[in-house]
Symmetry: C2
Subunit: 315 residues, 2 copies
């Protein structure tokens, strides 16, 4: 019999995580306290599962099989009953998370990991004081995790390192790529990479250096291409025939000088955002926004398939 995972919260992240675990062979029991929310998530997950089946991206399973392993639980207690891992996907509100984790902690045996999908609220803030705080941690996915594999595992200072290691193994087993942050830090890593890119994008447009469209192209057709398969350290390392030491020392002055010009933040509001919004609406009418989001997810799946192929075939 397949092992079971409890999914608390049936929003976009809960639904996508459910598919990841089910695709990986786990039973998933979903609970959402909002009346009808869990039930409403079923047809939406089925649509995603069918899209992924059409792309042969369900680990060899059919959409029916994947959906067959996902069920709705009437209560939190029923959802976590027998679960080997609990994944919380509630709104980003500290008091709510405290309440949910207190309940989960009371319901689950002490060796069951209680993980949050939060992107902003570190585990020490909602697990402090719980009897089972040692098994609490963040497991922050990239949206949607069935296409983008990175999971940021962020333990609290008191989280049991053996449970962190076991959680890494669990995510690896279902084909995701967990990394471990050794300390809690605002924004974890992905949002700490994203923030300065956003600040610079708004800054460049505010300074009249380029249009929003050209700023976007500098990313989407330029600097991001290498990043889509190698990280910043590897890039520095192979960019110089003597490796990362030489490339660090030689590259530091320019990069330090650039940082000096990136200290001021421009407000993300007012006439600047009016202008950016106008430019965006020229290329994407408001009523096509949802379609574009679906297009984005399709592109992410296609990229994931390409990367899988490239990892296996380009040596």
């Amino acid at each position: 019999m397949a092992k079971k995972v409890a999914m608390i919260g049936a929003g976009a992240i809960g639904r996508a995580y459910a598919i990841c675990f089910s695709r990986g062979g786990y039973e998933v029991s979903m609970f959402d306290p909002v009346d009808g929310a869990a039930e409403a998530s079923i047809p939406r997950m089925r649509e995603t599962a069918e899209d992924l089946e059409a792309e042969d991206f369900l680990n060899g399973h059919s959409a029916d099989a994947v959906m067959g392993r996902i069920s709705i639980a009437p209560t939190t207690e029923a959802a976590v009953d027998g679960a080997v891992h609990v994944q919380e996907n509630a709104p980003e509100k500290l008091e709510l998370k405290k309440k949910i984790f207190a309940e989960l902690d009371a319901l689950c045996p002490p060796d069951v990991v209680l993980a949050s999908s939060t992107s902003t609220i570190v585990a020490s803030m909602w697990s402090d004081g719980l009897p089972g705080k040692h098994r609490c941690m963040v497991a922050h996915p990239t949206n949607p995790p069935y296409a983008v594999r990175l999971i940021e595992i962020v333990p609290a200072p008191w989280t049991d390192s053996a449970l962190v290691a076991a959680t890494r193994t669990l995510f690896e087993e279902i084909g995701l790529v967990p990394i471990t942050l050794k300390k809690e830090i605002l924004g974890f890593i992905m949002n700490r990479f994203q923030a300065p890119i956003l600040h610079e994008a708004y800054r460049l447009v505010a300074a009249g250096v380029a249009t929003p469209g050209d700023v976007d192209l500098a990313m989407s057709e330029g600097i991001s291409q290498r990043w889509s398969f190698i990280g910043p350290f590897e890039q520095r390392d192979i960019n110089h025939d003597k490796g990362i030491r030489e490339s660090s020392i030689r590259g530091e002055p320019l990069n330090r000088a650039i940082a000096e010009t990136q200290r001021d933040l421009v407000p993300w509001d007012g006439p600047l955002v009016d202008y950016i919004e106008q430019e965006r609406r020229k290329v994407l009418p408001m009523d096509q926004l949802q379609d574009r989001m679906r297009w984005r997810d399709k592109r992410l799946v296609a990229l994931a398939k390409h990367k899988k192929w490239a990892d296996e075939n380009i040596k």
Copy 2:
């Protein structure tokens, strides 16, 4: 008869640009003042052209046809004779660029654009005082431009806007993606996106938050995936069902708080870089560095082919 482009400097960027122009149907005449350098570039370009032919990424041309349009010129004068565009790819030294552009300006008719591949030295620094300074600009590629399409066109304040527009058209014609910076700025856009990512990567390792390998994964399997086909503004825009205005206002506080923790720069040297270097050498021995660079370029070509397919097929 094909139009001709002059390529001044036969280093990595000159060679890659030569293939782009030849693949796009142009004759390319290469000159390098270092004895034998231009001649030595021919077998290296042939190797690249053959790799691209094997990938069907030469615009339908054969490697022989592409190489047949590339020739070595004995002098700068011979290289630029009859050229419709001149692309300079010399080392990043201001005095050298001043000397080269003075010579090019004296040799070329006033409507021929003189463009530099520099990533750091703005056109106003080397074109000021030239009779033909109105036709000077930066056209900074991403390495290698036959795989990564973005070209940053950066005019000096006195550059003729009609010639900027014509240069955009020229790059579009050969399948590249030019953007125009309306003002000169340190690092242009791509290096201004790269600098804060690098600072944050070193900062995270210095603070003991994560290993260099996990920091790299946060980029290569995480946040970069969306960036590889949509820029930061589009991402913000489609991330909220009311578009970029709402998503800007809601997202600013977190991103501003993150920026406050990214003000200190750590030195790219000493024990920090010792440790990063050790970690890199565990996964990539020094004698495999050149192979990994070739692997990177193959991956970039494969990614470019994937994107072309996805642009045409995913709507």
